[in-house]
Amino acid sequence: MLSVTNLDVAVNGGMILNELNLEVQAGEVHAIMGPNGSGKSTFANVLAGHPGYEVTAGSVIYEGQDLLQMDPEERARRGVFLAFQYPVEIPGVSNVYLLKAAVNEIRKHRGESELDAVKFLKLVREKLKLVDMKEEFLHRAINEGFSGGEKKRNEIFQMAMLEPKLAILDETDSGLDIDALKVVAQGVNELRDSSRSIVMVTHYQRLLDYIVPDYVHVLAGGRVVKSGGKELALELEEHGYGWIEGQTAELLETRA
């Protein structure tokens, strides 16, 4: 599904990711953890095609194709979805307007016809239930005046509508109270299946109690310094990131 090899990324001349490697197979859920500033969000944004980051070396292959050569919209149409850490407010564009445009762009890309109004509405209603949102919400402007929890739920709702093959969740748990976290997690879990891969970026182990990952990677200094199963997250919780940073320092010394 996704193969990231020796990825180097810079922003404003500063190196943020440094020889990052990651393999994700179809159906797998990967959690990427790490302290603030470790490059987690940069990695999520680079996968989605954010124009503010410069990839200076390495490759990202998605379904056998060079992902880095694609515009953000093409990535989305091919099934890459980023749930934003800070979803932007867009006054004047309603949620439903964007959803319709997005769903139809993706269908067009697949060579399918546009969804008619009845089918579209049916799909919308079904997915709204998944994230426990009311229908009136559709006609509000995108994220305008939404609470933090509503914004995150909206991201998961969009994800459910667009049915991506590779979903990247960037700190979807941040700013959520426990009830909202449960709703969001349930929405994500419903979407888990053997053909869909999920990459979750998170600072805290808490999210992983609700969305249990197959693999956990720890990012520090812009590279994956430790990978393991879900139990790695528990170890981190116990020892804190300092433990990993200590190990990394040793690792780098050994290399040198």
Binding site: G49, P51, E73, P91, G92, V93, A101, H109, A141, L162
Partner: protein, 446 residues
């Protein structure tokens, strides 16, 4: 010298007026002759405005004054039904008056089935049949010191629309005034003069639309006066969508009595050089005005909105929200002046002007100006000039929307709140199409 040059620019029109005066509608009516003559003297005296005048600092009229436009003062039997069909707003049911280069075209108009108490007719016809009826109202809303174009219009008063909504009449169907410029020949000057009288407790909608029949160079110099008696309410729309080779100088001058309400919406989507002056006088307590505006510049168009709201008395409310979208090398000017006279306590006033620049070469000069002489008032104003939010563009692209489409979506969204206020669905649909058609020409990604 510039001053002399401006007088020279006006001289042609002064001369043309002198030749035409005796044949203008209702010539020989003493008060009207005197009024036209006075305006002509002002025109000769102040000349056409130059950038030396503070109010014209950013709008150079050279492109207008270098051409000698030919005033159209009587019917030239223009009656292109096909053109009118094309310019119609689909699904808009209205009482419609059509004017060709400023002159009423009866055959193209549909002013039948007007309810009792409502008069909608040609100004020329009314001048000829009942000049005395206009004596006190005509010119009553004009600014004290009109600029040269307004004076020019007043010196020629010949045709335009006369609208009167009788006391307590609620008119649902909008009155549509369709002004078609560049009908016949090149360099023609249309000088429509409109008067809208809203008697006490009445309510109506008036839509002025300015369009071009051909791509020929033309000048429209229009003055609309509006008088709102106590508790009257008017929805007024002015849409300018003329060709890129047209010039448009328009005035909307308003007198408002007690508890009257004006909602005026100005939309400029086309035209080479467009200058709109708005003056609203709130003359009695409880009067309210809401001015909204949307201007879209592209190519080398120049759009200048000068508005002035004067609170003369207490408890007045004014709202003003203008938005501009500027592409290519277009340029816009916004000058929003609010005056609160010393007796106008409890005034509540808000003004904003937001601009979206879509190109590096587009430019806007915006200037809010508050003059407050009362001490118990609420006045707020705000101005912004910005570009599309890159984060929002990326957000939409990350959902599969192409970059051009994303930019168009966000640009339309910027205009959305102005359009959202339009109550007539057919009119709203028409203006949304005007805006989105214009935006579909935006393909660059700066």
């Amino acid at each position: 010298m510039n001053i002399a040059a401006s007088n020279a620019d006006a001289a042609d029109y002064v001369a043309a007026q002198q030749i035409a005066a005796g044949a203008l509608p209702a010539a020989g009516t003493p008060w009207l002759d005197a009024s036209r003559d006075k305006a002509k003297v002002i025109l000769a005296d102040v000349g056409l405005p130059t950038t030396r005048l503070e109010d014209w600092k950013y709008t150079n009229t050279r492109s207008i004054t270098r051409t000698k436009f030919d005033p159209v003062l009587r019917s030239e039997s223009w009656s292109e039904t096909a053109v009118i069909e094309q310019l119609k707003v689909p699904e808009l049911k209205s009482h419609r008056l059509v004017f060709a280069d400023g002159i009423f075209v009866s055959e193209l108009s549909s002013d039948a089935d007007l309810p009792r108490g409502v008069r909608v007719m040609s100004m020329a016809q009314l001048l000829q049949s009942e000049p005395e009826y206009l004596k006190s109202a005509l010119g009553s809303a004009l600014p004290e010191s009109p600029h040269g174009f307004t004076a020019m219009n007043s010196s020629f008063i010949s045709d335009g629309a006369f609208v009167e909504i009788g006391a307590e009449v609620m008119l649902d169907k909008p009155i549509e005034l369709l002004f078609v410029s560049a009908c016949s020949g090149k360099d023609r000057l249309g000088l429509p003069r409109n008067l809208v009288l809203c008697r006490s407790g009445s309510s109506a909608t008036v839509v002025e639309r300015y369009l071009s029949a051909t791509k020929s160079r033309s000048l429209t110099n229009v003055v609309t006066e509006v008088v709102l008696d106590d508790s009257a309410s008017l929805n007024h729309y002015r849409v300018v969508d003329e060709s890129a080779d047209s010039f448009h100088v328009g005035g909307l001058f308003v007198q408002q009595d007690q508890s009257s309400r004006l909602d005026a919406c100005s939309v400029v989507v086309g035209g080479g050089l467009v200058r709109n002056d708005v003056l609203v006088n709130l003359n009695a307590p409880g009067a309210a005005v809401d001015l909204t505006g949307l201007y879209l510049g592209r190519g080398r168009s120049h759009i200048d909105n000068h508005t002035h709201v004067v609170h003369h008395t207490p408890d007045g409310t004014s709202r003003e929200h203008y938005k501009g979208i500027l592409d290519d090398r277009s340029r816009a000017v916004f000058h929003g002046r609010i005056t609160v006279e010393s007796g106008a306590q409890q005034t509540d006033s808000e003004q904003s002007n937001h601009n979206l620049l879509l190109s590096r070469d587009a430019e806007v000069d915006t200037k809010p100006q508050l003059e407050i002489y009362a001490d118990d008032v609420k006045c707020a104003h705000g101005v912004t000039v910005g570009q599309l939010d890159d984060k929002a563009v990326f957000y939409l692209r990350a959902r599969g929307v192409g970059e051009d489409e994303a930019r168009k979506m966000l640009t339309l969204a910027f205009a959305a709140d102005v359009l959202a206020k339009i109550e007539q669905p057919a009119l709203k649909g028409y203006l949304e199409r005007c805006v989105s058609d214009l935006l579909s020409s935006i393909t660059h990604t700066s």
